[in-house]
């Protein structure tokens, strides 16, 4: 029943998309300023029915309609209500439907909110966006249909992968999808701009807000994913240079570069082609990431749904996208004249773009090299985190100096005295670094340089805040918050790296272990029943031998029955200066429990400063239009 409703709705949306394209191309020929009412209506209908399709699937999950294969494979009657809803996008088919929803919603919003812009440009954007929508709808219908039915109807479902049964499932995927699929709209807009000749400053203004929205959501989505991995996966780290993490970084680098060069296009009406390239590549990289991860080509700890048959379709679609984007770009390419003074904001922003391009290329090479080598020589390799650390971290040093000084440059020709800007903050940074170095611990030369440059950026941003309070130029505020956030992030990651403890050992119940000023007492173990799992709770007494402070830590081992899986829940005690992190796992047929104990210095500050970067973006939307 629900299966038929769902499939009919999908077909209806496909018809509406074709109608939109048809009507829009008819309207293109009419030389007036206003888009026909019927196109708005079609777009609104399309949005409504797409959302209804998604609701239909959610209802399927809520009422546990196991006649849908998708519900049967990913749900269970005893699953808590919350995870029945969130589980809708916890699988490939459901998340693809969410993907289509975001494509459609953005398409409608772009049409409605950009009414001041050129008609042709808006119509072309609508057409391209609908081509994308159709591409994904056909993929959904032919390969990954969430409404496929199964007969005879099973009595019980297989259940949701327990590791996904976490509140973060409700927010992490939607955030990422808004961020990464949101890029589609300025992919379409860039194509439209090339075809309609609506270029330069006004083009920049039309996509500005959308770039910022997707930047904010991408940033936030990546941070939430990192936090989730930190407390769920039990290794205590927050960044792994895992293929999925890398795949999320690629579009982020592109969009960050785009956000900056868009300012140049808007204010100075130059750099148009480069902006177009960035618009196109951001979405292409998003889809590439999805393709690599979903097809199972890249091996990752975060992948949940992989199936090679999906890969071929996405690959075809992707090649078509890249091919048509490149063709249109080169057909319509117009030569631009760049003549920038070395000391100007234009140059500084370009430098930002070079850094972003370098980071992007590095991560891309690290990610794709194993695939090429496997295809060409059958040798199987993986690229370890040291590669990314060695290549990227030293470059972060000059990058942070640029982030501090860059915003002080003015357009065209700057009278800035760089030396004056550098002198006092750098002296301050060196002194603070020496203080940390002598009182808290020794570290390498590179770490010293990183600390100094991070503190330099922080001090500069603090000076900016002081200036801001005096002068109140509101448009500066988002930049200051985000740049300060980045400085703090690097600083606290450095601190965390230098001053954390990690200890692995095996203990039996009742045993005591002394390590690094801590005494860990494994007192006993309790067994409890929860709604859809049994849980083993370990009672650990942790004594800090320096000040005799006693803390209780209770890591858990959860035993889920549908599907039969164990998950380990870390016990985390967060304080302002450090996190205590303890995981316990059981190794088959043994009295020993596998214990990992970590003290992570200033962990919470890493999250706070990362969130500040995203916050800077969100602050922009609270500013009034004329101040922006």
């Amino acid at each position: 029943m629900l299966s038929n409703i769902g499939i009919s709705l999908v077909v209806l949306v496909i018809v509406l998309s074709f109608l939109s394209i048809y009507n829009a191309s008819l309207d293109l020929k009419i030389p007036n300023k206003y888009i026909k009412k019927s196109i708005y209506k079609l777009s609104l209908l399309q949005t409504t029915f797409t959302i209804l399709t998604f609701l239909a699937l959610i209802i399927g999950f809520i009422i546990s309609d196991f006649s849908l294969i998708n519900v049967y494979e990913n749900s269970h009657t005893t699953k808590p209500f919350f995870y029945k809803i969130a589980g809708t996008w916890g699988n490939h088919e459901g998340s693809l439907l969410l993907w289509v929803n975001i494509l459609v919603i953005f398409s409608y919003l772009f049409l409605v909110f950009n009414h001041t812009h050129d008609k042709k440009f808006r119509l072309y954007t609508l057409i391209f966006q609908n081509i994308l929508i159709l591409g994904f709808l056909f993929f959904l219908l032919l390969n990954s249909n969430p409404f496929n039915s199964i007969y005879p109807v099973p009595l019980e479902g297989l259940g949701l992968n327990p590791i996904l049964q976490d509140p973060a499932l409700a927010i992490h995927p939607p955030l990422l999808y808004i961020g990464f699929v949101g890029c589609s709209i300025y992919f379409s807009a860039a194509m439209a701009s090339l075809l309609s000749g609506y270029v330069g400053k006004s083009f920049a203004q039309s996509i500005k807000t959308w770039v910022k929205i997707s930047w904010c959501f991408q940033t936030l989505g990546i941070i939430v994913g990192s936090i989730w991995a930190y407390y769920e996966l039990g290794w205590g780290g927050f960044w792994f240079w895992d293929p999925v993490e890398n795949a999320s970084l690629l579009p982020w680098f592109a969009i960050t570069a785009l956000m900056h060069s868009l300012i140049v296009l808007e204010k100075r009406n130059t750099l148009y082609s480069w902006v177009i390239i960035l618009c196109l590549s951001t979405f292409i990289l998003s889809v590439t990431g999805t393709f690599l991860v979903r097809s199972g080509i890249l091996n990752s700890v975060h992948t949940f749904a992989s199936d090679p048959s999906r890969g071929i379709y996405i690959l075809l679609f992707l090649s078509l996208m890249i091919f048509s984007a490149l063709t249109i770009f080169f057909l319509k390419y117009k030569k631009e004249n760049y003549n920038y003074n070395f000391k100007s904001k234009e140059t500084v922003i370009l430098a930002n773009n070079w850094f972003m391009a370098f980071f992007l290329v590095t991560v891309l090479i690290g990610m794709l090299y194993p695939i090429f080598l496997d295809v060409l020589t059958q040798v199987k390799i993986s690229v370890g985190p040291p590669f990314f650390n060695i290549v990227i971290i030293p470059l972060v040093v000059p990058f942070m100096f640029l982030m501090a000084i860059g915003p002080k440059f003015t357009w065209i020709k700057s009278q800035i005295k760089i030396f004056n800007k550098i002198l006092f903050p750098i002296l301050g940074a060196v002194v603070i670094n020496l203080f940390i170095f002598y009182f808290f611990g020794k570290y390498s030369l590179l770490s010293n340089i990183i600390f100094i440059s991070a503190i330099f950026l922080i001090l500069h941003s603090l000076l900016d805040i002081k200036k801001f309070i005096n002068k109140k130029i509101k448009s500066e505020l988002p930049r200051i918050i985000s740049h300060l956030g980045f400085g703090l992030l690097v600083f606290f990651i450095g601190i965390n790296h230098q001053f954390s403890l990690e200890e692995d050992f095996n203990l039996k119940v009742g045993e005591v272990k002394k390590t690094n000023n801590y005494k860990i007492d494994f007192e006993n173990i309790e067994m409890k029943e929860s709604k859809n799992y049994k849980v083993l709770i370990g009672n650990f007494k942790l004594t800090n031998l320096r000040n005799n402070l006693i803390q209780e830590l209770n890591p858990e081992i959860r035993i889920y029955s549908n599907p039969e899986t164990l998950t380990y829940e870390a016990a985390i005690k967060t304080k302002i200066t450090s996190d205590l992190y303890l995981t316990m796992s059981n190794v088959s047929r043994s009295d020993y429990y596998n214990i990992k104990f970590q003290k992570k210095a200033f962990m919470i500050w890493i999250w706070i400063s990362a969130l500040m970067i995203a916050l800077g973006g969100f602050v922009q939307f609270t500013l009034k239009k004329n101040e922006n």
């Binding site: 992968n161 039990g234 090299y369 199987k380 390799i381």
Partner: protein
């Protein structure tokens, strides 16, 4: 012959070009130093030029009844149904680590029969099998 402007531009392009070559060179060089080769126990037995000082990955199935645990570490045997290798590891194992399941260990070889791992990788998904291991099993178990 060339105007100053053109000259400047050529110089600039040349600068960018050489800079990117240097950058790519360094990226590739450190890439070369940090790749981890994946081997099966059989490959380790057969190959002559296995590096002992370089980190690598080993994969296969955990042999039944081979896991032993002490306060310090965990030892187990990884097999590809032709050859075996003993792995020693101190640290927490992932939740899907179990006997007769696929495993990938990252670390260094002590000798051709003994491997010291610093990381054990396993997947979240209980039905999932890393492609490398799948291939090994398909080759050796018929």
């Amino acid at each position: 012959m060339l105007t100053k402007k053109v000259k400047n531009r050529i110089l600039f392009l040349f600068f960018i070009f050489s800079l990117s070559i240097v950058a790519i060179f360094f990226i590739l060089k450190s890439l070369n130093r940090n790749i981890l080769y994946f081997s099966s126990p059989t490959e380790i037995k057969q190959r002559e030029d296995i590096p002992f000082e370089k980190a690598m990955r080993i994969g296969g199935m955990v042999k039944k009844g081979s896991i032993t645990i002490t306060q310090k570490n965990i030892q187990f045997i990884v097999t590809d149904f032709e050859n075996e290798i003993l792995i020693s590891y101190s640290g927490t194992v992932p939740n899907l680590f179990a006997e007769e399941k696929g495993v990938v260990a990252e670390g260094k070889l002590r000798d051709k029969n003994f491997f010291i791992a610093d990381r054990i990788l396993a997947k979240h998904d209980e039905n999932y099998m890393p492609p490398e291991i799948k291939e090994i099993i398909e080759k050796n178990v018929k």
